[in-house]
Subunit: 352 residues, 3 copies
Amino acid sequence: MVNRIFLIVVFIGFPLIVIGSLLQFPSILIFGLSCLTIIGLSSFMGRATESLTIVVGPRIGGLLNATFGNAVELIISIFSLKAGLIGVVLASLTGSVIGNLLLVMGLSFFIGGLKFKRQNFNVFDARHNSGLLMFAVIVAFIIPELFSKNMNDSKTITLSIGVSIIMIILYIAALYFKLVTHRGVYNTKESKQNIKHEEPEWGKGKAILILGIATLAVAFTSEKLVHTFHEVGEKFGWSELFIGVIIVAIVGNAAEHASAVLMAFKDKMDVAVEIAVGSTLQISMFVAPILVIVSLFFPISMPLIFTLPEVIAMATSVLLTIVIVNDGESNWFEGATLLAAYFIMGIGFYLL
Amino acid sequence: MVNRIFLIVVFIGFPLIVIGSLLQFPSILIFGLSCLTIIGLSSFMGRATESLTIVVGPRIGGLLNATFGNAVELIISIFSLKAGLIGVVLASLTGSVIGNLLLVMGLSFFIGGLKFKRQNFNVFDARHNSGLLMFAVIVAFIIPELFSKNMNDSKTITLSIGVSIIMIILYIAALYFKLVTHRGVYNTKESKQNIKHEEPEWGKGKAILILGIATLAVAFTSEKLVHTFHEVGEKFGWSELFIGVIIVAIVGNAAEHASAVLMAFKDKMDVAVEIAVGSTLQISMFVAPILVIVSLFFPISMPLIFTLPEVIAMATSVLLTIVIVNDGESNWFEGATLLAAYFIMGIGFYLL
Amino acid sequence: MVNRIFLIVVFIGFPLIVIGSLLQFPSILIFGLSCLTIIGLSSFMGRATESLTIVVGPRIGGLLNATFGNAVELIISIFSLKAGLIGVVLASLTGSVIGNLLLVMGLSFFIGGLKFKRQNFNVFDARHNSGLLMFAVIVAFIIPELFSKNMNDSKTITLSIGVSIIMIILYIAALYFKLVTHRGVYNTKESKQNIKHEEPEWGKGKAILILGIATLAVAFTSEKLVHTFHEVGEKFGWSELFIGVIIVAIVGNAAEHASAVLMAFKDKMDVAVEIAVGSTLQISMFVAPILVIVSLFFPISMPLIFTLPEVIAMATSVLLTIVIVNDGESNWFEGATLLAAYFIMGIGFYLL
């Protein structure tokens, strides 16, 4: 049912954008259409990646997921970089981090918790992920932020590149740890039973085809979307920061949002938490450093230096999340707490 | 015995304050008398609230506690707001947070630990509270603090109001969670046995009467107390900040201090921790936001913006507390650690 | 084997330094020789302290360890203080903290983890130490840092002395807790079995003699080393900060590094973690405050005020460590995470 809606959205939205960009539709219309179409397309990419993951097995599947899981954000960000909108890129990275940790996980806990009194998830994974969140946000984002205050631009870029390379290496090491050396080591009994023979929705060829076409369509749409930011911001009184942190992040992560909440509602909390936290780690340890390195080939290089409100929002989100997931259990109130934190940050970024 | 001393203090102190304010006693005398009398009165309010809680049952009792548990701080703060002493109000909120977490809990752990080698408390409650402490202090206090640096006054007040409303809603949700949807869900065996048929000290009518009279008397005394701050500060070389963070906080929380330590000494660590942390949460998630909203009706509005030392003191107290209570166990050394942190902050605020 | 190498290093290096300082060898040669000789000497001091600990029993042994465990850092620091190099002292304290937590523990986890899939250590000790790390770094280092921004020099020194005295008292209380009131209370079964009858390597007299001679030799060599910093820094383009944080810290802690990694390789993770975290606590709660007090007798007093990058590096290291050791388990990837954090900080300090 949901899939059919996404199909309709894509098949109406995409042609309209193509026509609209030729006929110079008003920015706000293009903005709205692009957001909806990207959400629809990213659902297709998600399903194609999932099908491929089942076909090729967990190891290569894990790599596929690492690459295509946040492909939409990556594509939007690269077009923003090309347009010189460094502020928007950093803001949308921030938005993905706080959006996944607070909004996606908050909604999952809250809605899952309305149905089930207590929900459990793998506590080993939660702790493993907590360590990585601390590393990625508290160490790798905060250190350049504060060290760069007394540095010139060239040193700041050098530091950013160094940090980015270390993060990418550690991210690959994390995949190797999870998929090779310690695969299944920390599984609880229940999660072992959950590994059933799954049937892929689409065959290998079809999945690759859909993934390819959807990726191209997302790229085209993103390019249109990025160029509407300035006008839309002026019309609604939204700052670039707010567009990046809240709007782009919600559009870019809509697919994750939907599937995480669905999983929570089915009491598959392991999967819901994995989507939210895994996506955060992908963004912060893989997408962000890749963007730093990609930006070296564009006229304006992007240092890994967020604004202070961005870093503080991410750091406090991580600390709150770690304390809340640490016990491997959730309930509706823990979800409400995460959502409340998201609303506070949303108001803050709106007023900035 | 202790109750009789409080009775004497109140019946000597209160008339003296009335006379003293007519005859214009020296400020320092009024200051000392007011502090003692408020401590005595708050003990009566505590006992009356406790009796009422037993009579009306846990649900309405929880609400009563939420309202009257920190009534003294609330009353002192409202009179300070009226006198335009916003700095004192924010300082005394800070003082309540660090006082409850470090001084009250530290003394409880230390003194309880001198008698018992290891003391246990409900680890589920401890973790639930850790999440809320993170939310209240690390998210809801830090975000406005750092976001408001680039905001004008009107946006700062808007942000403060937004954060305050979210906090009050979440605080009410926390009560609903604890008293309705998840009542007793996380109780350990022992804590279930502890729920015995308790006899209220006073009947319903008597308790309400005492609560009403004591509240009025606290209000009267607080008004006198607030107006002595300026002169007392000058005489002793204490800054407004120090008076707020240390003196007002200790006076306003004296009743909690006494009963938490008593509970620890009886090895009822669950109750001792609940008093210390519960009071902190009440102050930060209920009293502080209420004061922000009340201040809108006074000439000077109070934003939820602490000074940097205040926020850092609260944030580091919360982080230290979370790590120390996380295992659901205490000993004298954990108490000593909390007390040492309190002394460090005390020296810091004294020298500021 | 390793011991023989250290013996040769000392017996060749030390005479060369004596000759070199008379004949005015180039600074870089003296610098290199001093570093190697100090590493060799500190291995002798470590073995002598260990022998004495076994002879005199755990109580006095604990005190001995507390005093001589970081004697090398203490000696280098005192000579740096005498030379007025306050920046180097604070930097080397920082370097010891992040070096022990990230480099020593990271290498232990990583190398131990290459051999063993999962390694365990006493979770009670880990949590006890987490509380102390929070106290020492997050409270006792951060509070003076941020409070002193609005203070004059004399108040800053007063605050530093107050904090230092409280830290030393709490450190002694921690020893009392561990060696007297709660000795063995938190031991797991395995760790009880590990307490075997150990034979000291050297007798009492020999150990004291070696400890005395080695300490004197370290003192002499440190004095030479300290005076090469300026020139070496200029030659290699290293800042005083980088020399302190990375070079001095690695030289001063080389002995701990070696023995911690060796213990991890033998799957004695309890000991490896104890060396890394215990050494951090000794540095931050004992060596640092002692240096503050010692500096009062020198021309320039040292306040307990680190630079912002130093404090941030230490604080984020502590948070990362606490999250990673919290489960009482380690694997190669946790080691890699700690090492990655160290490299990020290393690049940061190099570029500052």
